[in-house]
Symmetry: C3
Subunit: 358 residues, 3 copies
Amino acid sequence: MSPGGKKGLDRRDFLGLGAGAAGLFCSLKLSDVEKLNSRDIKRIDAAAASLKKPQRKEARDVVDNYTFATPEPAPGGQIREYWIQATSVLWNPSPTGHDQWMNMDVPSKRYRAFVYQEMTTGFASPLSPASIPGPTLEAEVGDVLRVHFRNADRKFFQAVTMHPHGVRYNPEYDGAYYGDFTRDGGFIGPGEEFTYTWEATKDSVGAWPYHDHGPNHVLNLTRGLYGSIIIRPKGARKPDREYFLHLGSVFPSVSGLDSMIHTVNGRAYAGNTPTLRAKVGEKVAIHVFGMNNDFHTFHMHGHRWPGPGGASTDSPTVGPSETATVKFTEDNPGRYLYHCHVAGHQDAGMSGWYLVEK
Amino acid sequence: MSPGGKKGLDRRDFLGLGAGAAGLFCSLKLSDVEKLNSRDIKRIDAAAASLKKPQRKEARDVVDNYTFATPEPAPGGQIREYWIQATSVLWNPSPTGHDQWMNMDVPSKRYRAFVYQEMTTGFASPLSPASIPGPTLEAEVGDVLRVHFRNADRKFFQAVTMHPHGVRYNPEYDGAYYGDFTRDGGFIGPGEEFTYTWEATKDSVGAWPYHDHGPNHVLNLTRGLYGSIIIRPKGARKPDREYFLHLGSVFPSVSGLDSMIHTVNGRAYAGNTPTLRAKVGEKVAIHVFGMNNDFHTFHMHGHRWPGPGGASTDSPTVGPSETATVKFTEDNPGRYLYHCHVAGHQDAGMSGWYLVEK
Amino acid sequence: MSPGGKKGLDRRDFLGLGAGAAGLFCSLKLSDVEKLNSRDIKRIDAAAASLKKPQRKEARDVVDNYTFATPEPAPGGQIREYWIQATSVLWNPSPTGHDQWMNMDVPSKRYRAFVYQEMTTGFASPLSPASIPGPTLEAEVGDVLRVHFRNADRKFFQAVTMHPHGVRYNPEYDGAYYGDFTRDGGFIGPGEEFTYTWEATKDSVGAWPYHDHGPNHVLNLTRGLYGSIIIRPKGARKPDREYFLHLGSVFPSVSGLDSMIHTVNGRAYAGNTPTLRAKVGEKVAIHVFGMNNDFHTFHMHGHRWPGPGGASTDSPTVGPSETATVKFTEDNPGRYLYHCHVAGHQDAGMSGWYLVEK
């Protein structure tokens, strides 16, 4: 048995990648995803669905023969166990049909999202609704995250994974499709399960995204397959308020809308996006992730905080898979807007409210 | 009377936002502003002009009922008073009609810009010509900036504001349109006045932009409604030379040109953009602001300086509403080019000269 | 004789820039380089080829009359001498015709690249093949880099230069075309030579790109005219493994392909891009340069490292002409993917392998 505790079909049951599928993938020009139509999407999904788990027939390099032990916690550390499934859900980015900031009606329509959902032990039952983003994984330095993952999707028929940022992992737990070099954790087909083990090391401290890194990850990220990881120093106190905001976007061909929407945690337009709350005197942390292919500057009205080098900022750059952490002790009551400072993003949904009580 | 010292029409004289206007705004896709034509611009301006000051009929949240005292300086601090009006002016981004860098002719044409202009006390008379960028607001930690603002425009017929970065303000002085949650400072209609009060706190030290954040801010920023704020530690010495450079762009439908121009302080192409000067031995500070929707890297030939983390750089990233501060003691005489290192920006005007005398 | 040791034709033999050429340059809108066709490219190259070396007939400013001594090393420093020629070569970005990551065929086709090639003393013979990127220039603080440069190209018939980042240079050695203000090092015509002298100062420590900054630099950068500089503290030990990765792209009209490819060191797709190697216990440094007009986040699987402010990162932003330096002591054996985290870049070639042996 593989170190990942792989269940379900053995990888040897699968054939190599068909030439047809490869051709379809190859024709996908992501630089113009806005122009993809729903037929393109169907074609790409069909290619992904036809893709067979790669067989590593022969090692190409000595490193491909390495085997890896499953990491255990450092002395004094714990195993933090999660049960997470990938599933699909009908998701409305703008359930209110209204943008409270610009005071105007916006489209309200559901699309089929692909999301991570937290389950109870043994995948017995949902711990939370299927939503965007997936559950937040928490650990302290010295711990390991043990994530039991199941591809429970019954709509997209394709392999997905969980690929983490920030934590330490060996190649078995990378959670990324690598073509012929793919290991077990990099291709979890429909109905399959895999257990990832990731280490929280000293240099893992911070907030990080995790996301699908399977063969069709670009489409599946726009659909919603992402979540948050927070690693704290041993014994560190949590902030009084802690928020995790994923800046994303949904291609029109996926959302069924006329144009790209720009989202915070899968929602678009103030009143639909998360309304953050805090009270004067509280320690607040807001972790902002770039979860699409754009660069953003995250602006919070009425507040400043130290940037990475210590100088004050109120609109740091955050690029794809980067994190910007906003940290302050709240001292300024009232209603404030947060938004990406790129006009094309903020005006297509990437904004929300922050309410501070006295 | 409101804490902002609001004069002119009472907000209760206005009606709510019409559905038609909302529809027009909603149809503006800023991701393709380059494609907007002059009719689109007229439509958007008409929608902005028809927009009535929001009435906050009912509080939606406890925080919306908060009232705020006007901040006073900290002990030992001062009130720094400014009188600034928004006005329109015919503005030529390239008055020489020539690009000295590439040694070629460029279009020389005026468009109707929207700008901040500094006035004497009581708006008696102009202190400086109406130009881009607006006046630089200066304060030290412990001071308050008291900015008397008048919407003196007679061409665009729409509400504008002053929204500052970096300084501390309560919701009354945020200077941002918030739909139904808008406070007085967030919607200054034609002919109206408002006094903003902003605090220079310890974490305000640095250079920051201010800009329009009214309902039509995206168009009005491309037109030129922005300026600079500099907050220094108490008693700090000014650099010998200090420059504030706003990296912007003007939509073709606004400028009347065939394509986007990329500007420094509203001007395009070396010889039109600011020619900076210094002498060997002088302490130089150049504050560079991202004032459009692009990301830039600001490159200065012949010089390096410490980036935010201390490591040397000569082309830091600066995103929308971010500031990159260039600081060095001059030791390298001669003529040097400064420019954004994005080719599409530098070649469409975002470059200029820096001349260092022995 | 000029301080640069200029050989070949005297600049007074040349006429000023023709109006026709200026018109052609002016019509190049780099914001839509993807749409340039091969006729546009020919037109632009012809304009560049017709451009005459600017004559500085009259000084426009006192600084333009300054003359500059050629810098010598600081006490204890050395002269680091290089002989480099610009030449053209047929270059295949994807020689294997295969993407090992996505396990699919990709186009394999040569285009005419423009590159820097290292030569033996006096340009006697090649020290290395003509390839992308050019040679890495190394020095320690206190040294000077003396770079003998020859424009040996026989295909493009146009002036090129070497413009360095990070090191100190006076205007004579800036290596940039400045229109009428161009000095000798800023316009090296076909068959001409020039010797640049650059100083490695304390604030030059780090890795930097050099690149063409002649009148047609935008096209010539996409063709491959760039390389690396590394300046170390005096006596500093080199890392056990040191890599220099240039993130670039090639316009379709230059590559002859259907769409933009996104490259690492001129190559596209894993198995074609550099395969990096290290062993557990080794000190590794990877210097990543933004060498096109995009912003990137550089992600390395299985690793984290301190960002500029000290906080851990695994996908820092790197913009045009910026450097992100990845530094760690290797402790994680196996095969890992590195890639830009912008989907449109990674899926068009900007990815590769990092193999770590036990």
